[in-house]
Symmetry: D2
């Protein structure tokens, strides 16, 4: 490859650079961003292509803080075991941990945001204005989900069986910042009414409320899982730092290996 | 597995939870952290096990902002191509992008921090107090590296051949916050004196100054690559959001595939 | 962790070892497997828990050979770019390449096998005995898919627009080995009749016929993607070996980067 | 991107295709390879760019069989935990397992092959012709490694403390096929003499003998880890198939999580 081909063109609004200047999002990286913009703020901006307000940043970072680490999750353990096997490749251990960020343990944030978003889009132009209205809409939405044998994401938690402590706190922060929007309103209403349809009372979980809050910030619902992954990247770094200081990977491996029991496959 | 085995014990200082409460780093997640602590602040805390000061947070976030996105890097392109092939797995595309965070394109931050750290440890208890002293130490360090045929990390940049604009800005931010410590001082001195040893003048690059600044914050040098990866995770989310809006993955693939030329292996 | 906990038990039929012996699948690894069993044969056995016959091995390996490498695919390019960035971590480059093995570029094998399997299960106990019967069933299946607005996997190919050369060859090999079973029969019938329903003639593609053949071997349809990934692992090794000998990663990166065009996001 | 740029050129000796034909390694995929060439044979060919002889194929596949699965290794557990968290992404679980294929648990094959290769290159043109000669060379090589405080790869095993059963079997297979070359000869000699230098007798381990055998096949020593990864890909498929049938991921996670003990970080 020698000369540029003027027929080729790869458009971007993100980073570009010349010998003297680095630009990002149309800003001068060193004059406008470094030291002036927080990391969470930049992460929001990179996806939404607009700088969040201070209130939006506070809600957004509260979500990232809420999702960063949940202790010895399967993904944290997978990252630590990978680091044990390949300590020369921190990026591999981090990637292994993130690869567990799929449908079951990290997908609720996205599923919940998308579920609420879809329901709101179906009723666009006709959204409720008070709690009674939201309750009516929530009833309809939960009943539709039940009829279609779809599960309602964001309901229930294996540990926090009565209330997930993150839920009221995140709603409170969003309210303080004037950002308790339709996704959160509908999610709260689902929390009030789902028992009438489903026959049992489940808590609104933290992963779900995070999805609702992110959707209210106007972030694209197809990428909400990405923010959970970003939050988890910080948590996994903490897990790997701890694995260096006080390892549990070898004990985890030996615990499983020493209790292996051979089962005849036939 | 039914009953807990009281002989097993997996220690952690990170996340734990009960039915009512979620704790992280010894704090109550909802009362002490959400809405009170920024995301960058938490990331620092998770690794260092201490809450950074506001000045430390500013320097730390300036580093993350500096490293978040560099446009169409090999890792950004790899993430976009992976997303093109497997759009159902955002975590896979993000992981693919991070896997390029190895020795060549993302390793300079860690290599530079570690190089400086090691030099400072060899002279512990005898560190310079003025620029002349730092220059003398830098001369010694660069000469030793040359003699050992080791390269000095943090010198030179393929695009910013005279000066990397990030370098003076990050040093300035660290100075404003009273955090221009020995790693940065030594790095600056290397910038002043290396020409005497190596015979040509190279700029101090941005990845290197980020490593020096992180090391001055007291973060473990063996994990500095991890912060570059965290920063890059945000940048990759931006890249993947853009790939959804204005894709370049298919054109990249077709550009390569259509210009494939078969070469007889024999 | 000191003593084993007799309450814990992790069952497996795969590898176990003692000081003197290594067992795998209930066999003595060194006496029964090494030098006696081919690698493809073992891969089949590891998933199916039974040793394939020579005929099954031949069909199975023909599938793996068919899927191993397709030149400069997005996944091959992603692996090479990752190797360029992190040459110290071959496992990372290989993993990055495999992560593109998702729904779009590598999923057809599994989707096709699963689609055929489901159709056959719905008509279990009532399967056709001649081509006319298979055609009737295929008509029904394609019409149902069209009515449900589902796509029929295995039809069409961006390059092989008339016929995919792998399709008749793999069917021929299966026939030679007496392994042209119901999945392949139904797939062939879909090839004959789909035009009546869909209004245009599409070729049966190679990824699809591979899925049909694997399903006829009795392999679990939920894991068919795994065999495509195994095949691709060999292809990616070839790509990475070539990247060492005659690299294209840097040129790919530079081609994209040099043709980057900044687009104002607002 | 519209028209090809004739200045661009991406050379390859691997897969290419036209509307009618798929070529791989200069062969017609369907006429020359499918049904004619085994999968292991093709994997060798893809890296070495030459078709292995039947004897080479037998040794090569014996190595892959030896390395495919070792039961509940850290990488197998990491893959299973990732599958538990993200069952929708088999490629992610497989990739997570391979990411543990680094220096500690899977690197010995490559390290050993490279160590032997380097020693042989230093004595090229002057290689021993009998066991006494190999012993003398081995003594020199082990003494040099000790003097340089380098470890000798391929010595010792945590479980097979006296003899690794794979070692004599693989040497035997190589001898049967006339492929017991200089890497294996030197490795065997190291097994005989190292005690004189290191002061204790260690077994030649299976990962090491596999590296020696692969190097004797003329495969590039910088890529030997890649064959271990390919072998492991088959083993991981077996582990994931078993995780579907008889899961241990959830129990592993719960075992760790339920025995978490909070440690004050200060």
């Amino acid at each position: 490859m020698t000369e540029p081909d003027h027929g080729l063109s790869f458009p971007t609004s993100l980073g570009t650079s010349t010998a003297d200047e680095i630009r990002l999002l149309g800003q001068d990286l060193t004059a406008d961003l470094m030291g002036q913009v927080g990391f969470g703020e930049l992460a929001f901006w990179l996806v939404a292509l607009r700088r969040p307000t201070p209130g939006e940043t506070r809600v957004f970072e509260a979500v990232l803080v809420a999702l960063a680490d949940h202790g010895f999750t399967p993904t944290a353990i997978a990252a630590r075991l990978t680091y044990l096997s390949a300590p020369d490749s921190l990026q591999g251990a981090l990637a292994a941990g993130l690869l567990g960020g799929g449908s079951r343990f990290l997908g609720v944030t996205e599923d919940c945001g998308a579920f609420l978003h879809e329901a709101l889009q179906r009723h666009e132009g006709d959204l409720p204005t008070d709690d009674a209205g939201w309750d009516a809409l929530a009833l309809e939405v939960v009943a539709e989900a039940k009829a279609a044998k779809r599960y309602v994401p964001g309901l229930g938690h294996p540990v926090h069986k009565v209330q997930d402590p993150r839920t009221p706190v995140l709603i409170g922060i969003a309210a303080e910042e004037g950002l308790r929007g339709p996704h959160l309103r509908l999610f709260e209403a689902i929390g009030r009414v789902h028992e009438q349809v489903l026959g049992r009372r489940l808590p609104l979980n933290g992963a779900g409320v995070c999805g609702a809050a992110l959707a209210d910030l106007g972030l694209p619902v197809e990428l909400l899982r990405g923010f959970a992954l970003l939050a988890r990247a910080a948590g996994l770094l903490g897990q790997l730092a701890e694995e260096r200081r006080r390892p549990i990977g070898m004990d985890t491996y030996l615990t499983v290996d020493r209790h292996a029991v051979y089962v005849d496959p036939t």
